[in-house]
């Protein structure tokens, strides 16, 4: 195998995680795959700037995130309204905790502000450290920690899991009803 083959093989192994990341950010399956494809092409074109020995997965996630956000900025106005009426259909009563369904969880995740959601996913599911997540998002480590906490609080509030959580979070949940 030559150098290009190795690079291509390494890209291939990160595809499942890249797709999962794109999907869990809220992209539809088709759009997620378009994002992944675009990211792979960009990664290939810019592979000269990848520093061998550093984390390829972190580098690719950064590319995918930048690609997703530059498209998102173009569409922002269309998606702005999602918070209120949609949320009202998703609230579960306390006591349903044990039966918390994956669909409900996914819908609740969609309601978490995108910066908080991506921080939670990167750290809680993609397997990145706080430091790596900060590198991917281009922000400080403390910002990532704060976003992860806020994402958890928000999810707990939306899903009615907030026993013992702050009064503010409960008000936030009530505001969604």
């Amino acid at each position: 195998m030559n150098k290009a083959d190795f690079f291509s093989r390494d890209l291939l192994t990160t595809i499942p995680s890249l797709r999962a990341f794109a999907r869990s950010l809220g992209a539809s399956p088709d759009r997620a795959d378009d994002l992944v494809q675009e990211s792979l092409i960009k990664a290939w074109a810019n592979r000269g700037s990848f520093v061998a020995g550093t984390n390829l997965k972190t580098w690719l996630f950064t590319i995918l995130r930048n690609t997703a956000y530059s498209e998102y900025r173009k569409r922002r106005r269309e998606v702005e309204d999602s918070d209120g009426s949609y949320a009202a259909t998703l609230i579960t009563e306390p006591g349903q905790i044990a039966h918390l369904d994956m669909e409900d969880f996914r819908s609740a995740l969609d309601l978490v502000p995108s910066e908080q959601r991506e921080a939670l996913i990167l750290v809680g599911a993609s397997g990145f450290s706080y430091e790596e997540a900060a590198e991917i998002c281009g922000c400080a480590v403390g910002t990532i920690k704060s976003r992860v906490n806020r994402a958890r609080q928000r999810l707990a509030a939306i899903l009615g899991l907030q026993e013992g959580a702050s009064e503010e979070a409960k008000k936030d949940s009530a505001a969604l009803r």
Binding site: A4, D5, L12, I15, L100, F105, P113, A169
Partner: protein
């Protein structure tokens, strides 16, 4: 501190909000990983295998 455009009309979560219970954190973590693992378990579509093969082939063959 927050750049969240959605937070303006509602009360924002205070930075010193009491931490969620361990059980709630565990539940959220478990669901999140499960969701992610389900997505990750999907087979890689052929289009990506073909794309990468085409890119690598183009590279190895002199023009």
């Amino acid at each position: 501190m927050s750049h969240d455009p959605h937070s303006a009309p509602r009360p924002t979560l205070p930075a010193d909000a009491p931490p969620l219970s361990d059980e709630v954190q565990r539940q959220i973590g478990r669901k999140l990983r499960l969701l992610y693992e389900q997505l990750e378990a999907e087979p890689i579509p052929d289009r990506f295998v073909e794309l990468l093969r085409a890119l690598a082939d183009k590279e190895s063959k002199p023009t």
